[in-house]
C-alpha cells in the first residue's frame, strides 16, 4: 500500500485512539465523577460567583434554549460592532480597515454559528484584536454552545419523567474549561513548535531573489488555529486557511489539525454511550456515521488519486493524481481525506482549494454537508443525527406494529411535527438560497450592484452552479468551507448567506432539544419483547437509509445539474 493511504489510515486510527478515551472522560466529567481536570473547579466557581449563577438551579428545555439564545444574541451584537470599528481598536499593527456593514454582519453571524464562512481574508480583513477577541472568542463559545445543547439531550435521555435538565451555564462553562480549553492548549503548543506564528508583531518583510520586497502576514495565529479545529470552527487566521504554509506548515501539523477537528465529535458519540450506559447504542451510532464517512470518502479519494479524465484525454499522465489546487506536501489522498472530514463535521477549514477538486469530490463534499450528521460538528452533529433517529424510529416502530418509542418514550404527533420541520429546513434554505441566486443571475445579470451578478461566477456552466449550491450548503450546514471561485464579498451573498447561517444554526439546535425535552417529561415505558431495540445493526441500517433517502431525494435534481452533469461531461 502506498504511503499516502497508510498516512490516512494512521491518522484515522490515531483519531480513534484519542477520541475513545476522551469520550470516557467527557462522560465521567459530565456525570460529576472525579477527573484530573478538577483543578479547574476554582476557576469555574469564580466565573459562576462573578456572574451570579446558581448552577444548582435546574432548567427545563425552554429555559435552556432561552439562555442559549439570549447569550448568543449578546455575542452577535458585540462581534458585529467590534468588526465594524476594528480599525479604531487596539492591536492593529498592519492598519487594516473596518469591515463594511454587510461583511461585518456576515462575519459576526458566521463565527457565532460555528460556521466560519469567511468572505474576507484574515491578513487584511481583520485585526489582531478582532481575530483574538471576536473570532477566537466566538470559536470557543460557539463550540461550547453546541456541546452544552447536546448535554441537555444527554440529560433528557437519561432522566425519567422530569423537566429538570440541568443548568445551561454549568454545561456551557464546563464545555470550555474541561474540554475545549485543555485540548486547544495542547494543539496550539504542537502547532507553535512546528512553525505556526505566535507573535503580536505586524507584517514581516524580506527581499526576494528577484529583488522585490515581499510582506508576510503573521500574528498570534497558533492559538486560534488550535480552537479552529478543536471546536470544528474552521475559520483560518490567513485567507488561504490550512493550505497556507504558516497555518499548516508540515505533515505533522496537518495530521494534528486533522485529528484535532474530529476527536470531539467522535468522543461525544462514545460519551453518550458511556454516560447513558448504552454502549451498544453508541457503537451502532458510530458505525452508521463511519459508514457514511466511508461512502463519501472512498469515491473522493478514488477521484482525486486517479486524476482528471479531461487531462488524461490530452494524453498527459498524472502519476500524482489531481494536483490542481492541492499542496504538494499533502498529496491527493490526504487532501481527499481532509476534504471529507472537514465537510462531514462542519469544520470547513481547507488544506486545498475545493473549487479545484474533481466533480465527484465536489458531489461528495456537498453530500457530506447536506447530510451534516456523520459525526457532525461539536455537539450539533449528534443533534442533527437525532432528528433522523426520530424519523427512523417512527417509521420502523410502525413497521413492527407498535407505537414508536425511543429510549422508552413514545414519539407522537408533536415530536413528529418538530422533526419534520427540522428535516425540512435544511433542504429548504439550501435550495431556496440557490434558487434565488440562480434567478438573479439569469434574470438580472446586469443589476446595478457593487458587483454585478453576471460577474459572480469565475466558472460558467455546471461548475458555476456548483459554486452557488456549495456556498448555501456550506452556510446551511454551518460548515464554512467555500468552493471559492465565487465572488461572495458583496451585499447579496453576505446578507443572504447570513440569514441562511442563522436559520441553519439555531432551529436545528432548538428542534432536537425540544423533542428530547418533551420526551423526557413523558411516561417511561419499560422495554418488552415487542419493543424495537435501537441498539441493533438493523436499526442502524434503518437510520442510515432515512438519512440517505432524505438527503438524496431532496438534493438529487440540484446535484444533477451541478457536479453530476459536470462529472458526466468530463468523460
Amino acid at each position: 500500500m502506498n504511503t499516502e493511504l497508510t498516512g490516512v489510515i494512521f491518522t484515522y486510527l490515531l483519531t480513534l485512539a484519542i477520541a475513545i478515551p476522551l469520550g470516557v472522560y467527557i462522560a465521567r466529567m459530565f456525570r460529576g465523577d472525579k477527573t484530573w481536570l478538577d483543578f479547574m473547579a476554582p476557576l469555574e466557581r469564580f466565573i459562576f460567583r462573578f456572574s451570579g449563577i446558581d448552577t444548582k438551579k435546574e432548567m427545563n428545555w425552554k429555559q435552556h434554549m432561552f439562555a442559549l439564545l439570549t447569550i448568543n444574541s449578546v455575542w452577535l451584537f458585540y462581534a458585529f460592532f467590534c468588526l465594524l470599528f476594528q480599525a479604531h481598536l487596539p492591536l492593529n499593527p498592519d492598519g487594516n480597515p473596518n469591515q463594511t456593514p454587510d461583511l461585518a454582519f456576515n462575519t459576526a453571524i458566521s463565527f457565532l454559528v460555528n460556521c466560519n464562512l469567511q468572505d474576507y481574508s484574515g491578513e487584511s480583513g481583520a485585526t489582531y484584536f478582532t481575530q483574538h477577541f471576536v473570532i477566537m472568542f466566538l470559536q470557543f463559545v460557539s463550540a461550547a454552545t453546541g456541546i452544552a445543547a447536546l448535554f441537555v439531550l444527554f440529560k433528557a435521555f437519561r432522566d425519567k419523567v422530569t423537566d429538570k435538565l440541568g443548568n445551561f451555564w454549568d454545561f456551557f462553562v464546563k464545555s470550555i474549561t474541561r474540554i475545549l480549553l485543555p485540548l486547544s492548549v495542547v494543539t496550539a503548543i504542537i502547532l507553535a513548535f512546528n512553525g505556526t506564528p505566535t507573535s503580536y508583531k505586524g507584517k514581516d518583510s524580506f527581499i526576494t531573489l528577484q529583488g522585490d520586497t515581499a510582506h508576510v502576514s503573521r500574528g498570534p495565529a497558533a492559538a486560534m488555529i488550535a480552537i479552529k479545529h478543536i471546536g470544528t470552527n474552521g475559520g483560518g487566521w490567513f485567507g488561504a486557511n490550512s493550505a497556507h504554509p504558516l497555518e499548516n506548515p508540515n505533515y505533522l501539523t496537518n495530521t494534528t489539525e486533522l485529528v484535532a477537528q474530529v476527536i470531539i465529535p467522535i468522543a461525544l458519540v462514545f460519551a453518550l454511550g458511556f454516560y447513558l450506559n448504552k454502549k451498544k447504542f453508541a457503537y451502532v451510532m458510530f458505525g452508521v456515521m463511519t459508514l457514511g464517512m466511508l461512502m463519501l470518502l472512498i469515491p473522493t479519494m478514488n477521484a482525486e488519486i486517479s486524476g482528471s479524465p479531461a487531462i488524461a484525454k490530452m494524453g498527459i499522465s498524472q502519476p500524482t493524481g489531481a494536483m490542481e489546487g492541492k499542496e504538494v506536501r499533502f498529496g491527493p489522498a490526504n487532501t481527499a481525506y481532509w476534504n471529507i472530514v472537514t465537510t462531514i463535521i462542519s469544520t470547513g477549514s481547507v488544506n486545498s482549494m475545493h473549487d479545484s477538486a474533481m466533480p465527484v469530490s465536489g458531489f461528495m463534499m456537498m453530500m457530506a454537508m447536506m447530510t451534516n450528521c456523520f459525526y457532525g460538528g461539536c455537539g450539533v452533529g449528534i443533534l442533527n443525527f437525532y432528528i433522523f433517529i426520530v424519523i427512523a424510529v417512527f417509521i420502523s416502530g410502525l413497521m413492527v406494529g407498535r407505537t414508536p418509542e425511543f429510549f422508552g418514550r413514545k414519539i407522537e404527533a408533536r415530536e413528529m411535527k418538530i422533526a419534520s420541520i427540522i428535516a425540512l429546513l435544511h433542504p429548504f434554505i439550501i435550495l431556496v438560497g440557490t434558487a434565488v441566486s440562480s434567478y438573479v443571475l439569469v434574470h438580472m445579470p446586469n443589476a446595478d450592484w457593487a458587483v454585478k451578478p453576471s460577474s459572480w461566477l469565475n466558472n460558467p456552466g455546471y461548475h458555476g452552479f456548483s459554486e452557488m449550491l456549495y456556498q448555501y450548503t456550506s452556510s446551511a450546514a454551518n460548515n464554512g468551507s467555500g468552493f471559492e471561485g465565487l465572488g461572495d464579498n458583496n451585499v447579496f451573498w453576505n446578507v443572504s448567506a447570513g440569514f441562511v447561517l442563522l436559520l441553519g444554526r439555531f432551529l436545528p439546535i432548538i428542534g432536537p432539544v425540544a423533542i428530547a425535552g418533551i420526551l423526557a417529561n413523558k411516561k417511561f415505558i419499560p422495554e418488552s419483547a415487542g419493543t424495537l431495540k435501537s441498539d441493533t445493526s438493523t436499526f442502524g441500517i434503518m437510520v442510515f437509509a432515512v438519512i440517505l433517502i432524505v438527503a438524496a431525494l431532496s438534493f438529487f435534481p440540484a446535484l444533477a445539474l451541478g457536479p453530476i452533469a459536470e462529472h458526466f461531461s468530463l468523460k
Partner: protein, 675 residues
Amino acid sequence: MRTQNTLFQGDQMTEALKQSFIKLDPRQLIRNPVMFTVEIGTFVMLIVSIYSFTNKGQGSFGYNFTVFIILLLTVLFANFAEAIAEARGKAQAESLRKTREETPARLLVNGKEQKVMSSQLKKGDVFVCETGDNIPTDGEIIEGIATIDESAITGESAPVIRESGGDKSSVTGGTKVLSDRIKVMVTTQPGESFLDKMIALVEGASRQKTPNEIALTILLAGFTLIFVIVCVTLKPFADYANTPITIAAFISLFVCLIPTTIGGLLSAIGIAGMDRALRANVITKSGKAVETAGDLDTLLLDKTGTITIGNRKATNFYPATGVTRENFIAACTLSSLADETPEGKSIVELAGEDKSMPKVVAPNGATFIKFTAETRSSGLDTPEGLRIRKGAFDSIRNMALKAGHPFPAEVEDNVKKISSNGGTPLVVSQNEKIMGVIELQDIIKPGIAERFERLRKMGVKTVMVTGDNPLTAKFIAEKAGVDDFIAEAKPEDKMNYIKAEQQGGKLVAMMGDGTNDAPALAQADVGVAMNSGTQAAKEAGNMVDLDNDPTKLIEIVEIGKQLLMTRGTLTTFSIANDVAKYFAIVPALFMVSIPALKALNIMDLHSPQSAILSAVIFNAIIIPLLIPLALRGVEYKPIGASALLRRNLLIYGLGGILIPFIGIKLIDLAVGIFL
C-alpha cells in the same frame, strides 16, 4: 373470523365507484394533504390541457391531456381505496344491524302492554318479551330469566341464559327469546347503540384520526413540502441551465415524488382495521382503541372461560376415616342433586360412573339449601333430620367446630394436597360431622399455552385473574404458562393491578362483564366488555365483544399490530419508490439540453415523454394494486421486533426500491409503442 367475504363485492364496488367521484370535493379531500395537492396538480393540468389546445410551448394537447387523466385517476384510485374500505365496513355493520330492523315491541305503559315499533322505544322504556319474540332493541333485564338465541349476532347456535340482576342481564336487539318471559328496560336511545356508533365511525364524518395517524400525516405532509420546495426551486435551476421544462413535467415530477401511495391508502388502512375487528365480532368504539391494542403490554384474563374450560369438574372422592366410600358418595350425590351449577352436576356425573353404587334419589319432602355468599355452602335437609352440606373448606370447618365436632387431620391433609395440585377441595358434612372431601379440577383449554407463548413473543405479558386461593392459582398459572396471576381476586384487585402496571408505563387490557368490572374496564387502556355483560360494563369499556369470547383479546392485539404495520410498511414502500422515479424523470427533464445526463437514464427509457408518462402511470396504478394489502393488512409474525423490522425492510424497503424500476420499464415499453 366468521364472515370472510371476498375483498370486492359487486354492490360494494358500485357504491365505492360512486363515492370515489363524490370524494373529489376539495372540502373532503383537504383532510388528506397529500392527495389534496395531487388534486390541485390535476386541476392545473386541466387548465394546461385547455391552453395547449390552442397555444404552443407547453407540449401537445394529447400529451397534456393524458397527464391530466392519469393524475385524475390517481386521485380517484385513492378515493376508491377509502370508499371500498368504508363500503366493506358499512356492509359488515349493516349485516349486523339488519338483525334489528323494525320489529314490533310490547311496550309497558303503566303496567299495560302496548304495541309499538322498535324505533319508537326510548331509553328508560320497559318492554316485555316472551317465547318466540324478537328482542326489539338493546336493554337490560329487570325481571325474569330466559333462554335466548343470539346466533344472529354471534353465530353461536347454542342458546344462552340471561336473567335479571347479576352480570348476565344484558340482551341485544335482534336476538330471539326461546323460552320464558322477561321484562327489559331500554338502555340506549334510538340510533345510539354501539353498532350505530360504529357505523358512524366507519363513515367519513365522525371518523377521528388516531394519534399515530396524525403523526404519520404530519411526516407525510413534511415529505410533501420538501418536494414542493424541490420542484419550485427546480425552475430557476433549469433556467440557469437553459432548459425549458413544461408544466406537465413539473407536476408529474411533483406528484411522483410526494408519497401518494401511502397518502392514498392511509384512511383505507385505518377503516380496514376497524373492519377487521368487526369481522372478529368486536365492536370498537374508536379507531384509537384498535391502534392501542397493538401496543398492549399486559393482558388481564379471567381464569374461568379463558384459560380453563368453563368450570371445574369433580375428579375424585376422598372419604374421611371411618366413613365408607359408599356412604360418602351417596352424601355427595344427595347434596348435589338439586345443584344446578356445573360443579354440582359434575359431582352427580362422577358418582354415576361408579357402577357399584346404588342409584341415589332424593327422599320425599327434602328441602334443598341453595348456595349463598354468606354460608358459602349448599346441600339438603331431609324430613328425617339429616343435614348434608358441601362447601368451601373453611366454612364447613367452622360449621363443624361450632357444633363441637373435630376436623379430621387426614381430611385436612387431603384438602391441602388437592389445593397444591391446582384443584379445589369441597368438604362435605353430614349433621355438621365431616364426611370427606371432593376434588374439583380445572381443565385447561387445549392450545392455550401456545397462544400465551405467542403473546410472550409479541412482548405481551399475560396475567390470570382468579378467585382461587394462591396455591391453586399458582398451579394453574404454571400449567397454562401465564406470566403472573392475581389470586383470590376481588374487583378492586384488578383495578389496583391495572393502575400499578400503568404506573410503570405499561398499556393494559382486560375483559369483563360485570358491573363491578366497570371501573377496571374504564381504567384499562383497552377494556373489552362482553356483549352479555351489564350495560355499565359495556359503557365503561372501549370495545364490545359480540361473541363473549374471552380469548378474543389475543386477536385484538394482532389486529392492532397489523394496522400499524400496514401503515409503516406502505410508507416505507412509498418513499423508497422515489428513487426509481427520480431516475426516470430527472434525465427526462434534462437529457435534451444536457446530453451528459443521459448517463442517468439507467432504465434506458424510450423518450423523455414516455419516461414521464410511465412514471406517473406507475404512480397511479400502484394504488389500486395495493388496495388488497391495505384492506387485509400486512401479516404479523411474532418473531421479535428486530427480526420483523429486517423482514419488512427487505420486502417493502428494498422491494420498494426495485419494483418501480421494473414497473416503469415495463410501462415504458408499452407506452413507447404509442409514442
